[in-house]
Symmetry: D2
Subunit: 304 residues, 4 copies
């Protein structure tokens, strides 16, 4: 069956699902989103691009941005990154603070909040104009010059960011934050407020399916080895404490965000992004996970 | 045996102890203290005052101040205090953050850092000029007009207070901090930087041995019932995760501070304060605990 | 007001309370008890004995027996006991297994299940005929020759004792259980199945109010110092994770059991036992705690 | 470069490594093994079999057997397995008991001890002659009729199995163990005492690289979908709390055992087994992990 037919089937099956799950509401700006938005975009190496629904509408990518900041940090300082964060699944939604206490301020992995704050600290410490430089970096791998931070979302995150402030202060007490706390938080809240569409996300994630090279230009951002390792981290750590479940059901490295987006890849084959704002209890897009599970089931394409 | 002889024996036995334990060094201002300082002061209801050593020298009372802020909070808002903090021992030195996460931002008790921050929040929210009003309150129950905050210590605490900043931000994320975080921290760091001598501490603690009334003036600060409850909290929670050990060895309600001070009381009988800056692994004055154990052993006076 | 009037008032107020709380049902034998049973017995050093309700009816004392086994262990091997268990509050109802893992199989204190199993191990290792010898020991301090184990309850505990089996196996893996696991469990399940009335419990607890001497015979079971320490442990650890609350509200050393009994003492003054099978969420008798709070409030007699 | 040369290089580089790590010693039978044993065996779908060192010598496969028991359980009762165990990484070496308490006796995944005990319970409950039937099952997928349990190892495990007894009793208290505890433990200790060589292990694991079909006979043991899910579980959970590290460095689904063995697969391509008894701190074969990392680095073959 061709990909277009498969996506049509997925759309139909997903739209038939009961409407359950809740839009993220911890900041007002996210709570206002239409819960029925649904979009999907697939980029195949050999067979082109396929999409349905709201795949061209930009949304708040939130934690998916952690993959981009990690990419930039590895690009800047290489393996030194792994002296500041570990690569193990965190196992528990609520225990980042617990684990930080037990493990001397070294976050479990770079894709949970504490780890992403350390990565943000690395970028703030190594970039001249962190917010601008990071935005340009994402624009380059996306191949889109008009990607922006949503300033209202960034501001809203800051006003409600007490938990992230707790995390970064705790890590600072262990010496694992080097730059100024306020500056790192400001950078982090902007990073999470990036807006991309499914189409743009899928095309950006082609980098990780393409051994670290930008697909259109061939420019190497990460080495093959760095890319494999980053993909491994996405698989084991990309879905909070539901990484095992995602790996079990979908079988692809990927990353989710509380904005309802998920991006995933099959190395050497394709990248895909999906968006549906209703979240399951673990904070991942309920219909997004289903759409991706249907994709790997119907195509038979998973890394396992 | 008379109290003067008993104190002389205690001094002699304590001075013969090997010099072990370390002065608190998490802020430079505390690390500079002479580790060999040693003082003790006993106030008996019926038999007067007894002392030895550096009992008239002021030192940083640190966490002992939590008893005074709790007293003022109960004095201001009564039983409402107990809707914001619990009265259970914390059980673990390192788990304040853990417990806060598991218990929705309600600290285990008002005598650990998280609980004392909530008490500080209550004072900041209810006082016109919090730092000044609290200082006057302590001066009143101490009967000493010249008690002061050590501004250098307060400043040093602030510069190294990342862990307290983590605690207060986490509680704010649960809605259990109402005032401005910076203002509460500033108040808290000043509160901890109060300086009193053993003589002054013992006389201030007479309040708790005297059913809540200032001994010299008879002014009621707490009711008898409020005092009993506060004393119970001191006994079960006053020594971090060594409350059981202190109760077991000494058998008196009390509170310790990382400055090396301990104050304790025997309701209806006496109050006592001791100072020796070397701390055991649990953060309590090693020789201070010994001196108090000798006191209750030699006098036979303990609440059990 | 005389004690008889006070007890009459307590009975009246307690009987007026709404009927809430649940009878322990983890073993069928306990679940069959009449939830409305209510009895109280007070033994005053100078003023005799006072009682109301079902104070002469025997019930399953369950964890209150931990005080007796601890007493016998101290009587047998003295301070060595404290090398096998600590004296700190456990802080958490569910974490005995957690704490055992983190603390190398040393229980937090002898009054939680893990600690009482270690004490049982000490008795089994040091007594010729452990069940018989322990029964005789309790009979002696109770001054009653007909106290018995309820064999049906002991049997029922054994059949449902998987959690205790988990605890003892874990401690054995750390080397803190010396005797045979099955024998220790059998002893422990019998110990918990002891049956005493409020009247008998209060008279037995006179020992702890009387500095370790049996009140009627003057025989010394514990030294004054040992008694003080045991009383301190009761205060900080006698009520699971509600020790702080009990100390706060009642202010007496004591011990509760899931059979609905509570025994408490005021050193040098009185001992008291109360029985009401409905338990609060923390596993302590709801009305029993209220009755004791009323007693210390109305008499003004608490250790604080 | 051909596989034979690559294996020769791996052997040479691994033999040059400093000798570090310790042989498992928690039971005497395992502690007696020669720490310098080293073997590797690779089965490629298209290019045959390659090996070096002690690849034909049988050793105690220990936890690698968990993959076989899980396979048999899925084969017997299908998706029902996942109602008894979850599929999430455990995150912590020491917390299985903690997690069991917090998660009502449902183990995090079937490849840690608690989960494997539940799987053993499923087998014991569903097989007529559990130990014999399981042995025959392993023999069938291995294509070897003489695979055996080492009875001395099984006996030794039983004698020192207090921690596993703690785990199974705790799960029984939550109702997640149905069969008799002693029978399940006996089965489990035998299962862990299976002995296979690298050559046999690699050939057995071909099943998982071959979509669930026995390579030589074509018999389907698991469906393609079941196999993918089991492979996903191996990747996220197969290496205790080092699953992230193994995925990061090696990038293959696999399973390790404290006997020093590791088996891993690349779906559709190859299976591989390695044996070196010296373990790193996390309990995985130190040189085994290195050998596999060299294999994926030199061949460029990883699932990422």
């Amino acid at each position: 069956m061709d990909y277009q037919s498969i996506l049509r089937e997925i759309e139909s099956e997903v739209r038939d699902e009961p409407k359950w799950g809740k839009v993220a509401s911890y900041i007002p700006e996210l709570g206002n989103i239409d819960p029925n938005k649904l979009g999907m975009h697939l980029c195949c190496f050999e067979k082109g691009q396929y999409a349905f629904g709201d795949s061209e509408e930009r949304f708040s990518i939130q934690s998916i941005s952690k993959v981009f900041s990690l990419t930039m940090a590895i690009n800047l300082i290489g393996t030194e990154v792994w002296q500041r964060v570990d690569v193990e699944p965190s196992g528990d939604p609520f225990n980042s603070l617990v684990l930080l206490e037990n493990e001397n301020g070294i976050p479990r992995n770079p894709l949970i909040n504490s780890g992403a704050l350390v990565i943000a600290d690395i970028l703030v410490s190594n970039l001249e104009d962190p917010k601008k430089d990071f935005l340009n970096f994402v624009r380059k791998i996306a191949g889109r010059d008009d990607i922006q931070y949503n300033e209202k979302v960034a501001q809203s995150e800051k006003e409600w960011g007490f938990r992230n402030a707790a995390l970064i202060n705790l890590m600072k007490s262990f010496g694992n934050i080097h730059a100024d706390i306020e500056e790192v938080l400001d950078f982090y809240f902007h990073q999470c407020a990036l807006e991309l569409s499914c189409s743009e996300l899928a095309n950006t994630f082609l980098l990780y399916a393409n051994h670290g090279k930008i697909f259109d230009t061939g420019e190497e951002i990460l080495t093959t080895s760095q890319t494999k390792r980053l993909n491994a981290v996405m698989l084991t750590c990309g879905f909070y404490d539901e990484a095992g479940e995602f790996s079990f059901r979908v079988g692809l490295p990927g990353k989710s965000g509380v904005g309802g987006g998920i991006a995933a890849i099959y190395p050497g084959n394709f990248s895909v992004a999906v968006w549906s704002p209703r979240l399951n209890k673990k904070g991942n897009s309920a219909l997004g996970m289903l759409a991706l599970e249907l994709l790997t089931t119907k195509t038979g394409l998973s890394i396992f």
